[in-house]
């Protein structure tokens, strides 16, 4: 077979990797190459170097090492029974692309994943070798995210964590039945055992590094996972519960949601509709509520309707407020931070600015307006020095009042 040109490999192996939602390059150690050796730097905040026409951030070179796979997961474009064209990078090719793209300021680093070839251990070995070569042979100090293969030897996972900033294992589907049905070669037990192992290693390393500065690092940007939304029958309530158990059980940095996109050569067991993007967006918003707004998972679930789904025509925070109208209005001059965080339309930064400002003056509606994007949305839920809303109207009216504009579909991750 003639050798495939590098451009063709790149096209195939980037296309095959694009269903992974994460492109984050944030939250790792601070590093530089100011000493004139090596290449690259990282800081707290990641950088999106470009945006694709789908609005998604491009921060990392996100590719598969190969899209050949011995598994046959129905939702996956690379499954054994799919007719897609196959390709495979050599480790040197991945290293060259990463280094040369990085030097031209196209990327923050590499997100490497792979189909499983020969065996889990063999595949993981190859992935680790690429990361090792970047770090040790080329002094690469940019960001590395490695997808971890659950069945791989723990020693290989340990080596992966030494070189990578972030490790991830995808739980793939929100329910065990979904996984059994659509990914017959994967087991949620093995996936969670591997996540547990990584979690322990991260905790142990953090502990060791507190005592010995020279202790080796292990995935300083933590571990994340991804769930496909809309490929099986799980409702939002189940998804929220699963996400919460993953956050608490394995101390994950992020749970990503990927709206199921129709894939070429799709299996007949899958929906063929357009990806449920608004649903994905609402799930991310619910994730935000739990991570930054002090909502318990049960409370977020209360925002869901009788069908177990979050409303699509309003954000879950507003849905919660409309369900619990007796919690409002909230006095911006007196209410505690956690109460203010419940006000639809008030973000974390606005709440903190409001609390700082009210130490020095009594806030009027106009003052609150200067701290927020849209006072119109907030007004029905707050009391200020010169403002008290008329009796909160019934849910339907209020919904009309605050959702007059169509909700903007924002991409929250990046």
């Amino acid at each position: 077979m003639p050798k495939m040109p590098l451009t063709d490999k790149l096209a195939i192996l980037a296309d095959a990797a694009k269903y992974d939602a994460s492109c984050a390059s944030s939250g790792t150690d601070k590093r530089t190459s100011k000493d004139g050796k090596g290449l690259g730097s990282t800081q707290g905040m990641g950088i999106c170097h470009a945006y694709a026409p789908d609005g998604r951030c491009i921060s990392l070179l996100k590719i598969l090492m190969t899209n050949s796979c011995i598994f046959d997961c129905h939702y996956c474009v690379n499954r054994k029974s799919s007719n897609v064209r196959r390709a495979r990078f050599t480790p040197e090719e991945v290293v060259t692309l990463t280094i040369e793209f990085y030097r031209r300021n196209y990327i923050e680093g590499l997100f490497l994943s792979s189909g499983i070839i020969r065996s889990s251990d063999y595949t993981m070995e190859q992935i680790v070798e690429i990361a090792r070569s970047l770090r040790e042979d080329h002094g690469f100090r940019g960001y590395i995210h490695l997808k971890t293969i659950p069945d791989a030897d723990p020693r290989l996972i340990e080596a992966a964590g030494r070189h990578a900033d972030r490790l991830s294992i995808n739980v793939e589907l929100p329910t065990e039945t979904g996984l059994a049905q659509l990914a017959p070669d994967k087991s949620s037990g093995r996936i969670e055992a591997a996540m547990g192992g990584i979690c322990e290693e991260i905790t142990a390393t953090k502990d060791a590094r507190k005592r010995f500065r020279s202790a080796p690092r292990f995935a300083p940007a933590g571990q994340s996972t991804q769930m496909i939304v809309g490929a099986d029958g799980a409702d939002d309530r189940q998804i929220i519960a699963r996400a919460n158990s993953l956050y608490t059980g394995y101390n994950l940095r992020r749970v990503y949601y990927s709206a199921f996109s129709p894939i070429p050569e799709a299996a007949s067991s899958l929906p063929r509709e357009k990806p449920p993007l608004m649903r994905e967006h609402r799930l991310y918003q619910s994730d935000w509520l739990m991570r930054f707004y002090g909502f318990a998972p049960e409370e977020v679930q209360q925002a869901a309707g009788a069908d177990g789904m979050l409303p699509l025509d309003m954000d879950p925070k507003l849905a919660w407020a409309l369900t619990f109208r007796d919690h409002f209005p909230v006095d911006v001059n007196r209410a505690a931070r956690e109460t203010l965080l419940r006000v639809p339309g008030l973000g974390v930064r606005a709440v903190d600015a409001l609390i700082r400002a009210r130490r020095h003056k009594t806030l009027r509606l106009e003052d609150v307006g200067r701290l927020t994007v849209s006072i119109r949305k907030i007004r029905p839920f707050i009391v200020a020095a010169d403002w008290r809303p008329v009796q909160l109207a019934d849910a339907q009216d209020l919904k009309m009042l605050v959702t007059r504009q169509r909700p903007a579909q924002l991409e929250l991750f990046g």
């Binding site: 790149l10 530089t32 290449l39 789908d54 491009i58 031209r104 709206a259 701290l371």
Partner: protein, 246 residues
């Protein structure tokens, strides 16, 4: 008696701070100062007594930090706004923590625009590798919204210290020799730079990572406005990608 402060040197935070301290020390109210527009003095302007520098005037550190960012903004009103804030802080009519104040909000908005510009420069600079006589030289042309190039130099040094590079821009050019940072005057227009051999691969990657089933131009343009596109090789294929989808 209106006092006019000419623009020369005002963008230098040190000089600006010296002038503000002198004005505060002389208790010059903000309505009696005009900034920056170097026109001839008005009919009723009289030459005020020269200002004496006064190191005893202390400005809150958080204000100085905010001002350093705001000074990079191109808006003419920045000097007026900053002095009004300095005056109100000094006379006890404003505290830094009050972001609900109209002046403070305006200053934060200017600072936010500058910070965003700084971030976008870090994101959207694209180097082209020019084969040098000894080692390759990485060159980029970038047109920022505000005067941020100097403030951003450290970021590129920390990241690319082992490379030789230049970032050329209309206000100022910066050059890293591998050992030290040099500055030169801005260039009036984009210089001709040969295409880089990795641009084809990068554009191929950009095309392949796009998921047509999720087309969302509005979100893309919000984060990557068209004015940046001219210097980003991958953006050339955007029309084709959208066309192909529809």
């Amino acid at each position: 008696m209106i006092r006019h402060i000419p623009s020369a040197g005002l963008d230098d935070p040190e000089q600006w701070r010296g002038i503000v301290r002198s004005l505060l020390s002389a208790q010059v109210s903000p309505d009696l100062v005009t900034w920056g527009h170097d026109n001839t003095p008005g009919l009723f302007d009289t030459a005020p007594a020269p200002l004496a520098p006064d190191d005893a005037i202390r400005l809150p550190r958080s204000f100085v930090r905010l001002a350093e960012t705001v000074l990079m903004h191109r808006a003419d009103e920045r000097f007026d706004l900053l002095y009004r804030i300095a005056w109100r802080l000094r006379t006890g009519r404003l505290v830094m923590a009050d972001s609900s104040d109209a002046d403070m909000k305006d200053a934060h908005l200017l600072a936010k625009a500058v910070s965003r510009d700084i971030h976008k420069m870090r994101a959207f600079v694209r180097f082209r590798c020019i084969a040098g006589e000894e080692e390759p030289h990485y060159v980029s042309w970038f047109e920022p919204d505000h005067r941020i190039v100097r403030a951003n130099a450290a970021f590129f040094v920390n990241r690319f210290a082992a490379m030789r590079w230049s970032i050329l821009s209309p206000d100022l050019c910066i050059h890293w020799t591998g050992e030290q940072l040099m500055e030169s005057d801005g260039l009036p227009q984009r210089p001709n730079l040969d295409e880089d051999r990795f641009e084809g691969l990068w554009t191929r990657y950009y095309s392949a990572t796009f998921n047509p089933a999720r087309l969302n131009m509005r979100a893309m343009i919000k984060e990557m406005p068209r004015r940046y596109w001219a210097n980003m090789p991958e953006t050339q294929v955007i029309p084709a990608l959208i066309h192909q989808q529809s």
